[in-house]
């Protein structure tokens, strides 16, 4: 793209801004300046991502922007931007209470930008090897951030996340190698056999047995990162023990990025008529995650763990929708993913401030939130109403689409789906009741919170539930068509 004679490459911007910002944030000492710089960097990245809609570069063997990942990039950079605003006030409070010291804050900010870079790189990678490297980088940065409080629980969570994440990543690499092996006889040796655009064009001639085996490894590997049951064990710990902005980014974005990798390989299999249909595998894992997580919601005592299990539940629904396939289910899956990212990060923004004012994450120690902190309390209620899938919010619409399209094709699966969603709904409200209403418990000091990010997200979710602009619908339909 050329503006006033200056050539501007938005794709380079999406990748370079976080890298430059990470380098600066790692050395600048002043907390206020760095928190602001963090926001500036995410704003710039978001602007670069938006400008990708107006002119996108030609695919190279390493990088690619198409309609599918364009959607993901805008979502990622947007939530990254709002989370950085939330993070500024959250980290300010952590510094005051002494849970984090200035060197750790510097490290945290630098890692935040490295994580943004890694996620953007994973999304724009056209090379399946590069995509793997980017997801590994994202995993390592989040491991470091989960352990940043250095308490027993935080270290244990980080260790568990590290070990399980590494195993997942290793299995995914084996799958990637198998895809290369399948492509080599057809495409020829060298770089081309790892380029996604080449692979998908020639996939029809690949050896189906190798491709099947590769997909099983990729599903287990990247599925671990998506948090699908029974590979989810790291997820609740990592969400509960790390800083809350990281919980928001993990739930809202990193799980999506891993799912995106899975979708790319699913498209590869769909292009080969003789390969196994990836749908049933994803449907099974998705339903399993949904039902399992729905029941797990009942016994949570920790507020962040509660919403971590809710993330597993929703990733289950999304994986299920993409597994079903077809224009309507894919549309519903994309919409649900977008809505879940916005809602879940909004909930974590609220939860972060709640945990700070109450000084605990124990649900039993917080009560009557609507009385002590009305804005936070009602914000949280609105978020939970949205995430539980009640009308008129956006998640209701996407869940309705998933359920209705499933009823038309596989009524039995739809019954399990509805059952899981209802169990989760009841579980969430049971817990919400004791948090938001009843006898006020815990400190009632005024919260120094930034409400803007939370209510921006919730307003978007509400708006999407009431009225979806035709342009947006057309866009999602187009992307759903790409997914096949």
């Amino acid at each position: 793209m050329t503006i006033d004679g200056v050539t501007f490459n938005p794709l380079a911007g999406v990748l370079a801004v976080p890298v430059v910002a990470a380098a600066l944030l790692a050395v600048l000492p002043d907390y206020r300046a760095t928190a602001r710089l963090n926001v500036v960097a995410t704003t710039l990245t978001l602007l670069c991502a938006l400008s990708l809609f107006f002119g996108r570069p030609q695919p190279t063997p390493y990088l690619l922007v198409d309609d599918l990942n364009g959607t993901f990039i805008v979502l990622t950079t947007f939530v990254g931007f709002t989370t950085s605003i939330f993070s500024a006030s959250y980290i300010g409070h952590e510094l005051e209470t002494g849970r984090l010291t200035p060197p750790f804050v510097r490290f945290y900010h630098a890692m935040y930008q490295v994580l943004m870079f890694a996620m953007n790189l994973a999304l724009v990678a056209n090379n399946i090897g590069l995509m793997w490297v980017a997801i590994e980088l994202a995993t390592l940065t989040t491991v470091l951030m989960v352990g940043i409080y250095r308490t027993h629980e935080a270290l244990e969570a980080a260790w568990k996340y590290f070990i399980l994440g590494s195993v997942g990543i290793a299995l995914a690499l084996f799958g990637t190698i198998l895809v290369y092996m399948a492509a080599r006889p057809v495409v020829g040796e060298g770089l081309d056999a790892m380029v996604w655009t080449v692979l998908v064009r020639r996939a029809g001639d690949f050896d189906p047995a190798l491709l099947d085996l590769a997909f099983v490894f990729l599903l287990l590997g990247y599925g671990t990162k998506v948090g699908l049951a029974p590979l989810h064990a790291w997820l609740p710990d990592a969400h509960a023990e790390g800083p809350t902005p990281i919980s928001a980014v993990l739930s809202g974005l990193l799980l999506n990025v891993a799912l995106y990798a899975l979708l790319r390989f699913k498209m590869l299999l769909a292009a080969n008529a003789a390969a196994l249909a990836p749908g049933p595998l994803m449907v099974t894992l998705g339903l399993l995650s949904l039902v399992f997580a729905a029941f797990m919601l009942y016994r949570r005592r920790d507020i962040k763990r509660l919403f971590a299990y809710s993330s597993i539940e929703h990733m289950g629904i999304i994986t299920f929708a993409f597994g079903m396939g077809g224009p309507i289910a894919n549309f519903a899956g994309l919409l649900h993913m977008t809505m879940h990212s916005l809602t879940k990060s909004a909930i974590f923004f609220a939860v972060g401030h709640v945990a700070q004012v109450k000084g605990t994450q124990r649900i039993a120690d917080m009560g009557g939130l609507t009385e002590t902190h009305p804005v936070l309390g009602w914000g949280l209620i609105l978020g939970v109403v949205a995430i539980a899938g009640l009308p008129p919010l956006g998640i209701f619409m996407s869940e309705f689409l998933v359920v209705s399209s499933t009823f038309a094709r596989a009524p039995l699966l739809a019954i399990i789906l509805v059952f899981g969603i209802l169990v989760a709904l009841a579980g969430l409200f049971l817990r919400l009741n004791s948090i938001a209403f009843g006898e006020p418990r815990g400190p009632s000091a005024k919260a120094q919170a930034s409400y803007v990010p939370m209510f921006t997200h919730l307003a978007l979710v509400l708006a999407a539930g009431i009225y979806m602009p035709p342009a947006l619908v057309a866009w999602f339909q187009n992307v759903a068509g790409l997914l096949g």
């Binding site: 090897g129 590994e136 308490t151 590290f162 290793a170 790892m194 005592r301």
Partner: protein, 220 residues
């Protein structure tokens, strides 16, 4: 490809599986690290041989990384670390040697059955290599679940990565970008682990994962 080339490649890849079995029943941390060094050494030889028969000079770089970094630097560092932590004498296994070895044999059989069946089209060298590589990966996983000491879990993970390198080099002409990234990720992973071990030491005075596990779960 002539017979002897193939035989040597086969021998080296098979030895890697054998060394994985050796790792499985080491119940002393010090010995385990020595065996891991041997594992990396066999890997280096195997990769170098692949580089020679495939006429792919860039693979020598991978072999050199395996030799210098994995066979020398990491074991030496870990030796020092466990001495400093005072845990160099003993490790305990969750599963006994017998069941672990039987499970290992089952996994090797599984990987042979799976890989040889699906890779009819591939050339024989890559086929055998992938089957052995999957066996090494699965044995590494087995080791991670049968150990409860953080250091031996890390060793299990590193031998798993060795299996991946074997697979990547067996896939003829696979772009260098992946091989370097594998080596690089091990480096990063190792640094992370190093940090973790020291932090864990600071906080728990132990690297026994079962002790760490006591802190798990919901706050009560």
């Amino acid at each position: 490809m002539n017979g002897i080339d193939f035989d040597i490649a086969h021998l080296l890849a098979g030895s890697l599986v054998l060394v994985s079995f050796l790792e499985l029943y080491q119940d002393r941390l010090y010995a385990l690290l020595n065996i891991y060094a041997l594992h990396a050494l066999v890997l280096a030889a195997s990769v170098a041989w692949q580089a020679f028969i495939q006429d792919a000079p860039h693979l020598y770089v991978t072999a050199a990384i395996a030799l210098v970094f994995k066979a020398i630097v990491i074991p030496v560092t870990l030796h020092r670390m466990i001495v400093r932590l005072g845990i160099h004498r003993e490790i305990e296994q969750v599963v006994g040697v017998g069941p672990a070895m039987l499970a290992g044999m089952g996994l090797v059989a599984l990987s042979m059955v799976v890989m040889l069946r699906v890779t009819h089209g591939a050339d024989p060298l890559a086929r055998e290599d992938l089957a052995f590589a999957l066996a090494v990966v699965l044995l590494g996983l087995l080791m991670m679940v049968t150990r409860r000491n953080a250091v031996s879990q890390v060793v299990g993970f590193m031998s798993l990565e060795n299996g991946l390198v074997l697979a990547a080099t067996g896939a003829k002409g696979m772009p260098l970008v992946v091989e370097i990234s594998v080596a690089f990720s091990i480096l990063i992973a190792f640094i992370v682990i190093g940090i973790f071990l020291f932090r864990i030491r600071e906080r728990f005075d132990t690297v026994d994962v079962q002790v760490i596990d006591r802190f798990r779960g919901e706050r009560r």
